[in-house]
């Protein structure tokens, strides 16, 4: 087991180094992020030269690469300055946003699993029943509706319609990370002056719509995986044997079938790890949540080299770890598979 892990780790490091070199080269092809400032006629050449020097951009390519690599692995200089947010480091930017993204994505993952696994099993056990058809339609509907559309529709239904057509208050907030003012009884209080419980509740309240929208979109794949894997398992010989032994249907489903049907999902779970951090760009944009997804988009579009590089590295490390984790989990849940 140890040899296997060491081998995998060495492979992973090589992969990560290659990824870093490739992406650093590619991002460098986009040009000098500081020179870009010259497109603004008010920015002076001397200013750009000064910024390049401060941020070591006057060095040759390979020197820049190693300087950056060193800072990344040793957590130096906060992974390099952000060129869009000149006074913050990439690490700071990522650290600020990881909380909200993790909260959102883990809530969505948890909810999707809680809904899709029982539904998947149910529809597998009642294949071609009307419930199965309904669930299937629901899954495909959720999968095929783009998030930016469902997002806007939900905002309209829950936040706009009640205000303009019913003359009342919004049922759910139309996004944002939290409200600016909170209503506490008769008083209206600024968010940061309210008791912490209210603050947490308000943050959760603002997450309701994005979580619903993302969960709707996420349920589909999980449900389909669970359904097909269950269908495959209940047709196996050992299930027939169990039935022949006269075991209760409950025992057959949960003790024999479910444990085997869950294996493919565990692999997928490991692979979904980077997605947890990666955030949901569109949902974050529609609901005005300042998470990792938006940071990734903004830093790539704004040619923010250090931040883009840091994000790419974090993602690739997570992909590698996710893969290793999936492999390990696979061995744990499936005794037939051995490390090699």
């Amino acid at each position: 087991v140890r040899n296997y892990l060491i081998r995998r780790l060495i492979q992973s490091i090589v992969v990560i180094l290659l990824v870093s070199l490739a992406s650093f080269t590619l991002l460098n092809l986009l040009g000098d992020p500081f020179k870009e400032l010259l497109m603004n006629p008010n920015v002076q050449q001397s200013t750009v030269a000064k910024l390049e020097h401060i941020y070591h951009w006057d060095m040759p390519f390979l020197a820049r690469y190693f300087y950056w690599l060193k800072s990344f692995f040793l957590f130096q200089n906060g992974w390099g300055p952000s060129t869009t947010y000149l006074n913050e480091t990439s690490l700071q930017l990522i650290a600020q946003r990881i909380g909200i993204t993790l909260t959102l994505s883990s809530l969505v993952l948890l909810l999707s699993l809680l809904i899709s696994i029982p539904l998947g099993i149910y529809s597998a056990l009642h294949q071609y029943s009307s419930t199965d058809s309904f669930v299937t339609v629901l899954a495909f509907f959720g999968m095929s509706m783009p998030v930016f559309w469902t997002g806007i529709v939900f905002i309209y239904l829950f936040s706009i319609f009640p205000v303009i057509h019913l003359g009342g208050h919004a049922i759910l907030p139309p996004g944002g990370m939290h409200s600016t003012f909170l209503r506490m009884g008769q008083n209206v209080i600024e968010f940061y002056k309210a008791p912490i419980v209210y603050q947490i509740l308000n943050r959760a309240w603002c997450l309701v719509l994005p979580v619903i929208v993302l969960t709707l979109w996420n349920i589909g794949p999980w449900l389909r995986y669970q359904r097909s894997s269950m269908l495959e398992v209940i047709k196996q010989d050992y299930i027939r044997t169990a039935r022949a032994k006269g075991l209760k249907e409950r025992t057959i489903v949960y003790k024999h079938a479910f444990k085997n049907a869950i294996i493919p999902l565990i692999t997928l779970l490991g692979l979904s790890l980077p997605g947890l951090i990666g955030g949901a760009l569109i949902t974050e944009t529609v609901f005005g949540i300042d998470g990792i997804g938006r940071l990734t988009y903004n830093s790539v579009m704004g040619r923010d080299l250090f931040t883009s590089m840091s994000l790419i590295m974090v993602f690739s490390i997570l992909v590698v770890i996710g893969n290793i984790l999936a492999d390990i989990l696979y061995v744990i849940v499936d005794p037939r598979i051995k490390y090699q």
Partner: protein
């Protein structure tokens, strides 16, 4: 049936009772008070309330003068006071027999007036604007405050020195957001204190006494992007300007915050400073022979930072040192490279000694709180780049940052230590909305009052919003911006170096049709770089109206021919083909290029190829292009032509070539490689001319050359579309967005009406 008839008769009789009244209300529509007249609403209101009346010939004579007794009558009526007739008159020149006796005495009794000395009132004299302010301050109960020696004199006008000493306090109060009794001249930012008040001005002021602006409430303003810092000098771009422009206390161009303010018309006025250096009063001394200058600024006594600490000239001295430090990542510039040294002879005087002439010497100076930043700077100058001041700035403006919820909103609150009359709103909340649809949803749902008046919402999105019924509750603003779309041509290209071809390309392009097709008719064609309406903009630019026949004829005369395939061949025998580059994924520019390509193909037989690129600047810099479509702006229209068309960078250092080459590390900004001796000469002259009005014709001449030589093919001015909720009062966006000030420049005057 009988009941119905009775009812109808009763109603019509009732209505007829009101008819004469209704008619008299309509009669307020005077011949000489047009619907667009600035004080029309105020005049109508006073006429309706029978405080003023028009003349029998149906005019109001709004520009006519008002005597002191006339004005006293107006104010006594407006305040609902009764005439008072004591046995002994207070003033010798207002005897009991005079028609205004009862009104004047009522005003004396209420404490509004004290006379002009010597027991006289001067009833028949015309009332001066500054006296109007003194009188009205007494009326609104601010008379004591106006004479308080602790009051910070700040009228934010360019003729503050002309105000009589007894009226300074009153005028200070009269221009404040909560009173707004006096208005500035838009074109000069003067208050004209010694001019006689007109009938319209008196009506306006009286109205403001009766209906003072509403106070309180929260206004929600959308931002496309969050600022990256609130440290002005470390970014100076984009959303931060909107946030700080008004709230932090007057951002002026990219140069400075606080010392001076700038109106949307581009007029600079003193803000924390009490003067704008001028050659007329000796605060700007120019030694042309030596090429040196001295400017002197005075700071208002009593002006404080939002934490209550007084602003002194030491702040200015320290700020200059800090922003010039090579370790500080400053991007804003106050002409540091021209400055020899600065000094503070006393806490309220700041002197700048210039080693070179700088026409922008009176545009402001760096101003940051030394009491906060100096200890950090002294530890290590590079700490300034990341210090907490970036997120919790201290400024001198009417609102202070209360909370910055990162990625979410920036909440500003009325500055409790503001030294010049508090802003009208309780809170100003800037909310971040990266998605247009979400922004419009929030607008509809009431969570937003103002969309950003800057580039972002395109005309198509705005059109659909207008169709969606947004205009019932919102005013839609469609204004030209300072951004212009253009194709920078590479003049070292063997084909494009010919001026005739460049001009023919303009004539062969139907820009009106392009605007109609791609921008729904909402843009304006541009023929130069200086924003429309700016004095420095040339008056008679060639509009290059669509004329394919002329384009063809020009080319023929210049020796161009067409080959068997109908393709254009230039005099040296090369088939003319043009590659236009634009950022990959920019659909709008792709559409424009395809439109342009079609016109040039049909009209001139030129094959146009679209090349998607990533990183516009890399290509502009290294010259690997024939034409690149991009947009830029000149935030300071005065030096519009300074950076992009001169061969030597006159703005900074003449030894530094401005045409990008490998030798200068592609750092130049003359992307078109435009090399024109006449233009360079004008630019030099422009930069060494300190007198603003003398620069105007030079600027116009430079634009004429651009228009004739076409280093860039000018296409369109961008359009800014914004929505403002109708109950938001006091906004003033000017006629071109982003010209010299941000749209929030006067946010202390914004209010929410009920």
């Amino acid at each position: 049936m009988k009941k119905v008839v009775v009812l109808i008769v009763a109603i019509s009789m009732l209505l007829s009772l009101f008819t004469p009244k209704l008619l008299s209300v309509n009669a307020a529509g005077f011949k000489d008070v047009t619907a667009a007249y600035w004080a029309k609403d105020q005049i109508n209101y006073l006429v309706q309330n029978e405080i003023v009346a028009g003349y029998p010939d149906g005019t109001f004579k709004p520009e006519g003068k008002v005597t002191r007794e006339d004005f006293v009558k107006m104010i006594v009526l407006a305040k609902g006071l009764k005439e008072y007739k004591p046995a002994v008159p207070t003033f010798t020149d207002v005897p009991t027999s005079r028609w205004s006796f009862g009104f004047v005495e009522a005003a004396v009794k209420a404490g509004y007036i004290k006379g002009i000395g010597g027991g006289k009132f001067g009833p028949g004299n015309n009332i001066k604007r500054e006296d109007l302010a003194v009188l009205l301050c007494n009326v609104i109960g601010e008379g004591k405050e106006a004479n308080d020696p602790k009051l910070v004199i700040a009228t934010f006008s360019n003729d503050e020195g002309a105000i009589s000493s007894y009226a300074r306090g009153a005028v200070t109060i009269a221009v404040r957001p909560e009173t707004q009794l006096l208005l500035w001249d838009k074109s000069t930012r003067d208050l004209r204190p010694n001019a006689f008040a007109t009938r319209a001005e008196c009506a306006y002021s009286t109205y403001m006494v009766m209906k003072p602006p509403q106070k309180g409430g929260t206004i929600n303003i959308a931002l496309w992007n969050e600022p990256t810092t609130l440290f002005y000098g470390l970014s100076g771009l984009g959303p931060m300007m909107d946030v700080l422009g008004g709230c932090g206390g007057q951002a002026s161009g990219l140069n400075a915050i606080g010392l001076v303010g700038t109106t949307p018309e581009g007029v600079v006025y003193p803000y924390v400073a009490s003067n704008i250096p001028s050659t007329k009063d000796g605060t700007w001394i120019i030694d042309k022979a030596k090429g040196t200058m001295i400017t002197t600024w005075h700071i208002r006594k009593g002006a404080t930072w939002s934490d209550g600490v007084p602003i002194t000239s030491h702040d200015l001295v320290f700020s200059e040192k800090m922003m010039e430090d090579p370790k500080v990542a400053s991007v804003s510039n106050c002409g540091s490279e021209y400055i020899d040294h600065v000094e503070a002879p006393d806490p309220y005087t700041f002197k700048v000694y210039w080693k070179k002439l700088n026409m922008a010497a009176n545009d402001g100076a760096h101003l940051y709180p030394a009491h906060i930043l100096e200890p950090i700077y002294n530890k290590d100058p590079s700490l300034i780049n990341t210090c907490d001041y970036n997120y919790h700035p201290v400024y001198a403006g009417p609102y202070v940052l209360e909370t910055w919820s990162r990625g979410n909103y920036l909440l500003f609150q009325r500055n409790p230590n503001y030294w010049a009359g508090a802003g009208l709103l309780q809170y100003v909340n800037f909310k971040v909305f990266p998605d247009t649809n979400t922004m419009l949803m929030n607008l509809l749902g009431g969570a937003l009052d103002v969309t950003p008046l800057e580039l972002g919402m395109d005309v198509k999105e705005a059109a659909s919003a207008t169709k969606g019924g947004l205009t019932n509750k919102f005013t839609e603003y469609v204004l030209p911006s300072t951004y212009f779309e253009h194709i920078t041509l590479n003049l070292t290209d063997p084909v494009l170096k010919d001026k005739t071809l460049r001009q023919a390309l303009m004539y062969a392009l139907d820009r009106q049709e392009l605007i109609k097709e791609i921008f729904l008719g909402q843009r304006v064609a541009s023929n130069g770089t200086i924003p429309l309406g700016e004095p420095g903009a040339a008056k008679n630019l060639n509009p290059y109206s669509y004329n394919p026949a002329k384009a063809k004829a020009m080319l023929k005369t210049a020796g161009y021919t067409w080959d068997a395939q109908g393709e254009l061949v230039n005099p040296s025998g090369t088939v003319v083909k043009i590659t236009l580059s634009a950022p990959a994924g920019n659909v709008n520019r792709q559409q424009q290029i395809s439109f342009i390509g079609q016109d040039w193909k049909t009209n001139l037989g030129i094959q146009v190829t679209y090349r998607p690129i990533i990183g516009t600047f890399t290509y502009l810099g290294n010259g690997d292009f024939q034409g690149i479509m991009w947009a830029t702006f000149f935030s300071d229209p005065e030096n519009a032509a300074n950076t992009e068309y001169v061969t030597g960078n006159t703005a900074t250092d003449k030894t530094m070539p401005n045409i990008p080459t490998a030798k200068n590390g592609y750092l130049g900004q003359d992307f078109a490689r435009f090399n024109n001796a006449a233009f360079d000469k004008l630019a030099d002259e422009y930069n060494s001319t300190m007198d603003h009005s003398a620069r105007v014709p030079l600027s116009q001449k430079m634009e004429d050359i651009q228009n004739e030589e076409l280093p860039d093919l000018y296409l369109t001015w961008y359009t800014v579309v914004g929505f403002v909720r109708k109950n938001v009062k006091g906004t003033d966006f000017g006629s071109t967005i982003g010209l010299t000030s941000t749209y929030t420049w006067n946010i202390d005057y914004w209010s929410l009406s009920k």
